[in-house]
Symmetry: C2
Subunit: 375 residues, 2 copies
């Protein structure tokens, strides 16, 4: 392990080594080895693609405490509650979502090869990290894959015009092959931004743009710290009613219905939501998620599908841009470009993050890989 | 038929009579009688629920010309291209979308009873009107139903940062039972507003809010007439990049992939999009749509599902509001309340609309029902 210098602000680590170390951490907590590797890839996908608010930053903040508190069961295997062939409902058994989301999508894909479409619907699940990691993996295997999750009983956004928080950020991802190009991978919260963006601004000591948070009376809040003090609420995609707030709210409900109501998971809008003082309430326990896979090759010649996909995404990339230095792309394209750079150049971890991992390795007697040293 | 007075601005008609007259119009154009009635209900749903930009306003503007030009084949029956049981791909044969969308959802529902989930994916389709009519109908039968459509090769919105228009408004609807309450029916364009809202403002001679349209360089446009002059583009849900424009664009692509790429329909982003002068281009021919149905009762006891749905939507309706006179609701609730009022009180048609229908009746020798007279 390279010594750190006082002036050092980041530490470079090979991406593969970061994944392997993270897998060792999960395995050390009781996650079976093959699952631990997938979970590590899912977590480090945030560092790989530049969405650092969803990467190893969440290892010591979210996943390890949840395992240690028994809110995630590291060795649990989800159990089928219903199975029609094209549709499976699983009791998630609080298994590690970082792994179980990929397992659910793989199960849906194996069914969809015959049935054209298949859905695996999970209750009592836990956080699966970046939805785009899981769906993008299937797009590279020529499937169209959708993954969406509610936030269990965690309530941080309000119905338009309502006082109490009733819903979570309810992420939604769709991925599709794009012919010769990087897959299309939409991965979005149905709120304006996910909570990670608010907390990243808070850590950086920076104000946030108007439109992300509002106070109890709906006035804009630009201090990111107000969110974790319970003084501000995330706004929906669409912003004001005139520009589509009801659509963002409606999309949050779309995810709540598909991901949680269908399998019978915990819901944000439960009567207890009305009892609080109006601030964000509840915990992200008993999350529901839906993994839905379409196998285009079961429905028409897969070559025709891929050719048409290629044409679609080529056209987008070829659009003359408004600003010559800002080419047009589509969701997933920049993340894939960043992933290629990270794979070649390594992950640049903030020094605090590196120290967290080093301390963790020391506490548990694990090997943290040698690093590329100061930058 | 009641005589019109010079000062009259609206004419009241029984809702059922408006549907029956519209069905007669479709039947007169060669649509089989049972389909004509469903198509009429789908069209008049706009008048029923107060979304008048999607109601009978489109009869003489959109549907009849499309039939007369051969762009809609009034008697065509969609033909299966693939069928796995849970997934069906149909050649839509340019059948009347107002009817065929409900037929596709009914087919998906009949399959989903056994398979839990089923998808009917249609190419060479035509406009289906208000998506929420079709999905809400299934929610009242205890299904969860999704319907989404691209706009064929019609291009009116741009990739963020791009010059040419590449995608349509790409509507998306999800409906679910809500226990004792009106069904949840999300029905939204993935652009800030649908084109109908722009044209309604133009007809009314009113400016539109900033955020709906932009000019070639991305500056706000508040003159609704600029849209049909080809001088303005619809913006995506989310508005600016900081508040989620890439999410709106990503959702537009989600619909393009699920509704059109999967079945092989016409796409907005085709190379010809790059050849124009940059204004809106193309026609809404070879539309693709996807009808996806989940049968909760095939996956868990339907009573449990309905009870949980009841709890979810009761909680939303019970939210203490920010303004005492503006209670909280959810998508579909206001439309259902308006439908009940219209059913009781009749449809109030603008006098110009009534004259259109009267002239149509006279030309074709049809009976326009007697009206409730002047208001």
């Amino acid at each position: 392990m390279t010594d750190l210098t006082d002036s050092q602000t980041t530490v470079r680590m090979e991406y593969k080594e970061l994944v392997e170390f993270t897998a060792t951490v999960f395995a050390d907590r009781g996650v079976p080895a093959d699952r631990a590797y997938i979970a590590a890839e899912a977590l480090c996908y945030g560092d790989l693609t530049g969405m650092s608010s969803h990467g190893t930053a969440n290892l010591t903040r979210l996943y390890l405490p949840a395992i240690d508190e028994g809110r995630i069961d590291p060795a649990a295997t989800p159990q089928p509650l219903a199975d029609t062939g094209a549709a499976v409902v699983l009791d998630g058994k609080r298994a590690l979502g970082l792994w179980s989301a990929t397992d659910a999508l793989d199960l849906a894909a194996s069914r969809a090869r015959d049935t054209g479409i298949a859905m695996v619907s999970v209750r009592d699940a836990t956080h699966f990290g970046c939805a785009g990691y899981h769906t993008g993996r299937l797009a590279r295997r020529h499937f169209v894959a959708l993954l969406a999750s509610n936030c269990g009983r965690q309530r941080i956004a309000r119905a338009p015009g309502g006082r109490p928080a009733v819903l979570g950020t309810n992420p939604l991802s769709l991925a599709s092959p794009a012919g010769r190009h990087h897959p299309y991978v939409l991965d979005m919260s149905t709120t304006v931004v996910p909570t990670g963006r608010i907390r990243a601004a808070e850590r950086a000591g920076e104000p946030i743009p108007e439109g992300w948070l509002e106070d109890a009376d709906g006035r804009p809040v630009t201090d990111p710290g107000a969110f974790d003090r319970g003084e501000a609420y995330l706004r929906w995609l669409g912003g004001d009613p005139a520009t589509g707030a009801f659509k963002g709210y409606g999309l949050g409900l779309l995810v709540e219905v598909l991901a949680a109501l269908v399998p019978g998971a915990g819901l944000g809008p439960e009567p207890v939501a009305l009892a609080g003082d109006g601030g964000p309430t509840g915990r992200d326990d008993n999350i529901g998620f839906v993994a839905l896979v379409i196998a285009p090759g079961a429905l028409r010649p897969v070559g025709d599908f891929l050719d048409q996909a290629d044409g679609l995404f080529t056209t987008l990339l070829d659009c003359p841009p408004q600003a010559p230095d800002r080419p047009v792309s589509y969701p997933g394209w920049h993340e894939a470009e960043q992933a290629a750079r990270t794979t070649e150049q390594g992950v640049s971890l903030p020094i605090e993050r590196y120290r967290e991992l080093r301390d963790l390795a020391a506490q548990r007697g694990l090997d943290l890989p040698r690093t590329g040293g100061a930058q």
